[in-house]
Symmetry: C2
Subunit: 305 residues, 2 copies
Amino acid sequence: MATIVFVIPDQCTLLDLAGPVQVFEEARAQGAPVELAYVQYQAQAGSSAGLAFATVPHFSTMMLHAGDLVLVPGLADAALPTTADDYPEFYAWLQALPERGVRLCSVCTGAFLLGAAGLLNGRSCTTHWQQVGALQQAFPESRVLADRLFVHDRGVYSSAGIAAGIDLALALVEERFGPLLTYKVSRRLVLYYRRNGLHGQVSVYLDHRNHLHPGVHLAQDYLLDHLAENPTLEVLAEVANSSPRNLTRLFRQHTGLTINDFSTKIRTEAARTLVATSSLTRQAIAERCGFRDPRQLQRLLGRAA
Amino acid sequence: MATIVFVIPDQCTLLDLAGPVQVFEEARAQGAPVELAYVQYQAQAGSSAGLAFATVPHFSTMMLHAGDLVLVPGLADAALPTTADDYPEFYAWLQALPERGVRLCSVCTGAFLLGAAGLLNGRSCTTHWQQVGALQQAFPESRVLADRLFVHDRGVYSSAGIAAGIDLALALVEERFGPLLTYKVSRRLVLYYRRNGLHGQVSVYLDHRNHLHPGVHLAQDYLLDHLAENPTLEVLAEVANSSPRNLTRLFRQHTGLTINDFSTKIRTEAARTLVATSSLTRQAIAERCGFRDPRQLQRLLGRAA
């Protein structure tokens, strides 16, 4: 069980905090072994929009272990730190985390807290586009990158402005729990999942899911849950409460793919994962993934490679 | 000055609340004449993710006027109301708002609160895709639409799941304060602005802005702020801290348009607005929008119509 700790600075940007909270809370609800915790380091934890939080525990009460994650949201520009002078114990606590295997993430101007802890020295990072110059100036030993949704450098993640914290949180869920859970979370939150421009991995689970049609989602879910059976159009239409003809039209309209192409994509991807990670025979893999025989599978693996 | 009131139910979905709060808070920071307020109607105001709020005023203390807006976020499924029995005074308060000119919005399962107040009877609405059936069943006189980001029916707005509250809030900002402020808000929040599928209006200010490149944004901002001058490529390159050649390449890559096409689009749109809303002569409009003469303007208006 990993703990995801949200640091709440006073004058916290509410959406910086709430976006990642909701992503991890939804991952937890979907079965991911995480629990959420909130800490503060100042006398109070207010938000920049005038809504204050009830008492939040002090950071020093939190015991963290390797695999845990600490997330620092941004705060009002006027409150941005550039040194550790005001809260030396808090910054020392932050600074010791990466070497203990605890990962750190900042959203937006939360990067200034990582900088004050010395964690940006020698690392690449990013922040809100309006603060890129100020962050570089405050922490000259860091390498501040513009035009990125998020950046990862040796256990320290930073993300761009405000809503980019949602994108970073989704990327962290994907990194830890895989693309299938990530698509379930983004679908539940009705989120458009933006990938980092430099994020190499393409996901068959997430691609073609940035639409809103509930019937098409039902058909896609059913296909994912019944790879071996390779369900017929009639079965899918029933699942989606639609006619075969209408589902065919809707599926293409909302996903950009035919049902058959989507099905082949996800079954090929599942087979590729089994080839790479299991000791199953090609025959067994073909059966599990709904292929006629190992030759059909092999042809598709070759073509998609 | 309009008041935007956020109702905080106990077990509130944090992102349902925080998304619209941040959008309106940012609109306020950019000069929109709104103020934000928070109210509760139960004994406490917690969030579904375990983070509680400090004391929030009771709804009955809030004096509202025509033009104000009340937003109701969603809450944990187990806490969804289907009748007004538990908080009759609160629901009576909600119910009286539209006839007094106060608009109401729900995010996600917040639609159940509008339903319990009788506000969905005879109206079209939407909610989280997993609750579309339950909402229709609980409030049979409503018309629950699936597959929508948000729906507006005579002063009552409702939106789909969780993150769709951000889209609704942006649409409300656009409706009230125009597309230019909306693009500034979404840019500051680093948000991808998703429009409703049925949202007819296309905005030259928002289109071609769903990218992250700071230099290109600077050039676009400068063009918007200097319509009459129709700035040269050299001027824009300096503004964007780039070379003319590099800016030309980046602009096209990130916006999908040449600088010249983008400039023509925004100047034509500004001119069209002036033709429709002012008593200026065509000559004066052409000058203000950086056209050589009224004939050039007229040709472009005709072509784009």
